[in-house]
Amino acid sequence: MTSPIELDDLECEFKEEVLDRVPDALLDLCMTCGTCTGGCPASGLMDMDPRKLLRMVNFGMDEAVKKSKWAWVCTMCARCVNACPMKINIPKLVYNLRGAWPRDKRPKGIRGSCDQHIRAGNAMGVPTADFIWTVEDVAEEIRETQPQFKDMQVSVDRVGAYMAINQNSREPVTEPDELGPLWKILNIVDADWTYPSVMWAGENYCLFLADEEGWRYIMEEFVDHIDNNLGCKLVVNTE
């Protein structure tokens, strides 16, 4: 026979853990209205949805919550918290849920990209020298084949450039011809820009992996390079 839930006896360790780290996540305020779930494209996938997840966390069903792979299907797009009348931060809950997985059990693809980024400065793991070679090679081809851009300059680590521009590493690695159009636009407006050689990629898989240490390391290395080596005044995100 089922019996009523004794609220005083509930042990919600995971919830307390998340609230310690994110005090404004407001996990206790859920009115179970389901607005989050109604507007979430991941609702129903793997028999889970945002409201159900939050209920389970609030009932202390920590083991079942941590076992669900749904944390990796939700994209943390924040449509739920945007619509939530109580502003409960479900994406932060999901982020912490991801972080509760042992690192070596988190999805291989995301983990691999994060590791590559820490090691090589981009999620594809391309050595910096190859990135620079590709950039110079594509630029040379444009100068040779497109007369209007015969003087176009593209640089990596030009000290004192006004802007540092990042680039998703899939472009130089898998579709280098996609680099040219952006450069030509920058050339036309006479932009004073350069690519940084350190942590030059625009993506951030350590955030997706919920690897705080890796994420912080990437940011610190990047900031140090821009501020102390290049002195760029503006960092431009291209995506």
């Binding site: 494209p41 991941a42 996938l45 793997m46 792979k69 990796w72 299907v73 939700c74 994209t75 943390m76 797009c77 924040a78 449509r79 945007n82 619509a83 999805p107 291989k108 693809g109 995301i110 691999g112 990209s113 444009i142 084949t145 497109q146 209007q148 851009f149 998703n168 899939r170 472009e171 579709e175 011809d177 996609e178 040219g180 159009p181 952006l182 030509k184 636009i185 036309i188 407006v189 006479d190 932009a191 625009g202 993506e203 898989y205 997706f208 992996l209 994420w215 912080r216 940011m219 610190e220 900031v223 821009i226 501020d227 005044k233 503006l234 960092v235 431009v236 995100n237 291209t238 995506e239």
Partner: protein, 178 residues
């Protein structure tokens, strides 16, 4: 940087805001004349990270200003809903490499249906993850649209798009301006 309180001296911006600024300043002389008779229809994906999660409506407006300048107001069709309330494409949060392709595509079905409802031939996706995911669900569910980076269509409009920079253009535009 905000998350970790890492002090830094530089400012941070998006290329979309710069495009908008350069167009207003007249530095970037781009317009939609090329599409006046072609009438190719475009829609745009609002990336969650730069729209809903950071600059919100301001970024959504700027994105539309840039895109409409390039393709023409009359050839632009918004998805419903869009802007701050836009649906995530399903490629975010690492999902493209998360190892659950079936769920990722089920998630992306909403985006696919949204795109198809606009009747647009092209989706402009200013985020690489969105670009890959919207293209993938398009192939998967049998859509006939194509996905572009902004720089491709901007260079096409200015007549400076090289021959080998047209991977994502469909037959109608692949040779345009060559």
């Amino acid at each position: 940087m905000r998350k970790f309180n890492i002090p830094h001296k530089f400012e941070f911006t998006s290329i979309i805001q710069l495009y908008g600024q350069w167009i207003r300043e007249g530095k970037l002389k781009v317009n939609s004349d090329w599409n006046r008779d072609l009438k190719v229809k475009f829609t745009v994906q609002d990336p969650c990270n730069i729209v809903r999660k950071t600059l919100r409506q301001e970024m959504a407006d700027e994105l539309r200003f840039v895109v409409k300048t390039i393709v023409g107001e009359e050839n632009f069709v918004d998805m419903v809903p869009c802007g701050v309330n836009n649906y995530c494409c399903g490629g975010g949060g690492g999902a493209l490499q998360g190892g659950f392709p079936e769920e990722r595509r089920a998630y992306g079905k909403i985006k696919f249906d949204q795109v198809m409802s606009t009747g647009a031939q092209y989706v402009i996706a200013p985020c690489h993850n969105c670009h890959s995911q919207i293209e993938d669900v398009g192939h998967h569910y049998g859509g006939n649209y194509r996905v572009l980076h902004i720089w491709t269509i901007m260079c096409l409009a200015m007549g400076i798009l090289g021959e080998n920079e047209r991977t994502y253009l469909g037959p109608g535009l692949a040779d345009y301006g060559l």
